[in-house]
Symmetry: C2
Subunit: 393 residues, 2 copies
DNA sequence: ACTGTTAGTTAAACTTACTAACAAAGTTAT
DNA sequence: ATAACTTTGTTAGTAAGTTTAACTAACAGT
């Protein structure tokens, strides 16, 4: 763990002030030197000097005059969002989704590619490189401007170490993939679990905007959660926070060491499918269990309705536990949960109100498959705050 | 919410450097100017200037010479832990426990007092004032040196607002007690729940030392938990984090709006007592249910053993849920749980290993009734880091 | 006694932000 | 139209802090 230097000299002061000036420009979109001075309490000459330097460095631009407020017109400044670029990549099943974004996090180019199956680790790296090269060309950015790349994948990742221990869809197993990619791409790389990145995506651009205590609950092949506390992603002592599939919810079976957790076994998509065997004769590829169950229930199937209620109720148990421990202000439902109908949401909400004192807001995820890419881009953006851009220039 | 000024001038630098110098002295106990310079990367003249100022302010002292390392002997510096004092108070049942501590958190004087029952809010405040006056006299500190007071009580507190909404033992109901106390005592006051303060106590001086992801699980009249994540106390969006009594563990009963949670109802001390009615004929005041159950079980009572196992198992469910969500590195068992015998702990540990992938260390609380007072003192100590002492001087 | 080393201090240089004064470019009132 | 006032941005000099370089003090080993 690198301890940040706590001591400072005048250089530090300058850096801090520059950062704050940049922050003001980003926050206000367009702002004059005089207004920055008012906002930051820095003297006008000081702001001018800092701004001039940052214009030299290419981080800021003068973009015309503002309206007069009784005196000389202000020169408006803007952040140059095109100064650097960020790459994002998400592996979803056997497809690789990539994007290039500017410093605002806006996508400037995208591409998608099918991966050969079974996946070959080496080959996948080359696919990433090829995609990146193409995206850089499409977006008109140069490799020098690339700050880094965020990569999300289904599987078990150790973001802290930059390693992946289990990821069949990419063919990466127990490998220090971050290092390998950084060496090959020549830029910093962040590796993370796709649920974590989706969480981040919804937090910065989706339903999570404006909240600082958010839990993103995902039900798919497995059950997991992304946890944001006090505006910070929480990962746990060994990066296993949010592994809510292991909660003791549902019929407990003995001796299920390793593998999946109790909650996950019964109430993830495969778990529900198994329970639904008698009810849903056959489920076609690509359709949702919950949707099907809802259809059958509406058509009068008591069995379907019973199963649905059971699933909702146990999902609500999970939520109640999360809420009891973390007291979030927002719970985002994603994955299979987005198919819950209004009636279902209402039921769950009523149960929670009955069970726990401080019920958070419940909202379904809204960004769909974009969430992961947005999160990937923002994970890099977070690792490169304005601070580090100033160093780079 | 007050936004901390992010911009800086030379004053800020000086403050930062002074803080860091102070930090080094605190960390090393005794250290010379030269060594501080090496540790902090500040130049020797600079360190000398800062140290001299702090000696003037009474925060540091020269305490003799160190051994020569081939040249002139170093002058050793020490932090003046007696420069300021901190008061702590804990209400436990109908007794008020108070202390005065130095800046190291060491108790310099203590006193205990029985409160009249039923408690009268006004009267209790005067008891606090009286106790404080006496402790200041006993410890030889002056009121000017008092930095603040930490107060812990059983009940529902809103530390952020400094209010108490429900606390029968002190007679404070729905009152802005922090403000009242600050006005009466003339120093900053921190009000918090006793479980939170015990958590903090065990974290800084008990079994939690050296860990940064700790959950302190308390079973008493109710069930609650204190949560420390990444070295920071986590309170939740509406100060309701750690309200684990509301987890959905145990037989679910309908319509139990408000009041206590499902887990709490069945597995807190009163809950267990109720279940034990047939087993333990009568329980004398002041003894522990778990101890009694263990005794009966050892004496051959199958019923007692069954109930004990059931309790352990459900407590373990709670732990599993906590661990799944938070992935702490340490789980502190306190309250009634300290009476679990080794066999019981082992059982719980085995269950957890079976259920969840990353089992934390399980340890019983060790500080006993001291924990709360230590936490109370440290809550003030945290609110007055070296930063603010420098401002004060 | 001489050399080499460590601790602490003094003096000048350097970096940064601040204040005060000023120039530029507007608006408003007469 | 002109003068007075405002707001914006810049220039010049000052103040506060840290750093470097040199110096004194004090000590160990030979």
């Amino acid at each position: 763990m690198r301890v940040p230097r706590k001591t400072g000299n005048s250089k530090l002061v300058k850096k801090l002030n520059k950062e704050e000036v940049l922050q003001q420009v980003i926050q206000h979109g367009q702002i004059s030197r005089a207004d920055i001075s008012k906002q930051t309490q820095l003297s006008r000459p000081c702001v001018s000097a800092l701004v001039d330097e940052m214009i030299q460095e290419g981080l800021l631009q003068e973009v015309g005059m503002g309206d007069s407020r009784g005196g000389r017109k202000p020169i408006l400044l803007e952040y140059n969002y095109q100064a650097y670029a960020i790459a994002g990549a998400i592996f979803e099943g056997s497809t690789l989704d990539m994007t290039i974004a500017n410093l605002k996090g806006e996508f400037m180019a995208r591409c998608r590619k099918r991966l050969d199956q079974p996946a070959n680790g080496e080959r996948v790296i080359e696919d990433l490189v090829a995609g990146l090269t193409r995206l850089l060309a499409d977006s008109g950015m140069s490799h020098d401007q690339l700050l880094g790349m965020g990569v999300g994948l289904q599987g078990v990742t150790q973001r802290g170490q930059g390693t992946v221990s289990f990821s069949p869809s990419t063919g990466w197993m127990d490998s220090p993939i971050q290092e390998a990619l950084e060496a090959r791409l020549g830029v910093p790389v962040i590796i993370d679990n796709d649920v974590n990145l989706m969480t981040l995506g919804e937090y910065v651009r989706g339903v999570g905007v404006g909240h600082s205590h958010v839990v993103y609950m995902y039900v798919g092949t497995g059950i997991g959660a992304g946890v944001i506390l006090d505006g910070q992603f929480y990962r746990g002592s060994r990066e296993a926070a949010g592994e809510i599939g292991f909660m003791m919810i549902g019929p407990e079976q003995h001796r299920r060491n390793g593998a999946s957790g109790v909650f996950e076994t019964h109430y993830s998509v495969p778990g529900i499918m198994q329970q639904a065997e008698g009810v849903l004769s056959d489920l076609q590829e690509g359709s949702s269990v919950i949707e099907e169950l809802i259809l059958h229930a509406r058509a009068g199937s008591v069995q379907a309705q019973t199963l649905l209620d059971d699933v909702y109720r146990h999902w609500a148990y999970g939520m109640a536990n999360i809420v009891s421990i973390l007291n979030p202000e927002l719970l985002i439902l994603s994955g299979e949960m987005v198919h819950i109908d209004d009636e279902g949401v209402k039921k769950i909400q009523e149960w929670l109100t009955e069970w726990v004192p401080k019920v958070p807001c419940l909202k379904k995820a809204t960004l769909g498959e974009q969430a992961g890419l947005i999160g990937a881009v923002h994970s890099v953006l977070e690792a490169f705050p304005s601070t580090r851009l100033l160093d780079k220039a």
